[in-house]
């Protein structure tokens, strides 16, 4: 199975129908293990039990950037390779990415209040993630504003690629500027600074949330293909000559 094979929407629908049950099962299993490990993880010597917020905040923050990365690849697929499913993938990912970004912002805020003494600070990391959230909303608004999916796709692809500049800014904001947010502690030169008791549940939850994204994304892509089929058939129906009054 190649990308060219998947260019056929009917073939994609058949494949989605086959793999979705397995993806759902894997998501439920991995998230259940991750939640159990998160619940039984020890308290941090400084943060106490609030460290448990990390197990949901960090995966959502990772996914907020990962989903934009997926949309950027899809945008290239639309503009460069003109893959028929690229804009479907891009449109379907936007609301899911927006939800993960919203969760990263709110759980971060709820973690920040007891640890930093404030829900919000206009520092580089928090502000750049808020901009990412607003860009997701802007992209969703753009898709809704243009009726023709192929015209909307090109505009959305350009906006997505321009917005991708924000991703390295988010990632390196804690290194480039003096921020309240802590620097990278998992993926960094010299290895993770997290103890295994926290690192393992965090990685399991990250895998679980990534599987959740894949499941939701494939299901949302299937819905988008069906929506376009409905639109095409409604146009065919509207153009059909009437046989009776």
């Amino acid at each position: 199975m190649t990308l060219t094979d998947l260019a056929n929407p009917s073939r994609f629908l058949a494949l989605a129908g086959r793999i979705l049950p397995w993806l759902i099962a894997a998501t439920v299993l991995v998230l259940a293990i991750g939640l159990y490990q998160s619940a039984t993880a020890p308290d941090d010597y400084q943060q106490g039990a609030t460290v448990k917020i990390m197990f949901i905040h960090v995966p959502n923050a990772w996914l907020s950037m990962f989903v934009w990365g997926v949309m950027s690849v899809a945008a290239l697929g639309t503009l460069v390779w003109r893959h028929p499913l690229a804009d479907v993938a891009q449109k379907a990912a936007a609301p899911i990415g927006a939800a993960f970004t919203f969760l990263a912002l709110v759980t971060g805020s709820l973690w920040g209040r007891p640890m930093w003494g404030t829900y919000w600070e206009w520092d580089a990391r928090l502000t750049s993630v808020l901009i990412l959230f607003l860009m997701y909303l802007g992209l969703m608004a753009l898709w809704r504003a243009v009726d023709d999916p192929s015209r909307a796709a090109r505009a959305a692809a350009v906006l997505t690629l321009v917005g991708a500049i924000n991703i390295p800014i988010i990632k390196f904001s804690v290194d480039w500027w003096n921020t309240l947010h802590q620097p990278a502690s998992v993926f960094r030169m010299g290895g993770s600074t997290l103890d295994r008791a926290f690192l393992i549940p965090l990685l399991v939850m990250a895998v679980g949330f990534t599987l959740l994204f894949l499941t939701l994304h494939i299901a949302a892509m299937r819905n988008e293909i069906l929506r376009r089929r409905v639109r095409t058939l409604q146009m065919l129906q509207a153009g059909k000559p009437r046989t009776s009054a």
Partner: protein
């Protein structure tokens, strides 16, 4: 709850919020799938046929 310490409210609210948003995403995807397949069935019932000749509601 007492084992979560003095900031239990923040921890529980975070997990509850994530659960609610994930549940909403799942509900949205399922409801959208049902809406689109129902529309395709309606179109098939009205006699509209795809260019391939297959029924409107044939999603395979």
């Amino acid at each position: 709850m007492t084992s979560l310490g003095p900031y239990a409210t923040f921890i529980v609210t975070s997990y509850a919020l994530v659960a609610a948003v994930v549940a909403a995403l799942i509900a949205w995807v399922i409801a959208d799938y049902r809406r689109q397949t129902a529309r395709l069935h309606d179109l098939e019932a009205s006699g509209v046929v795809r260019r391939s000749g297959r029924g409107a509601a044939d999603i395979s």
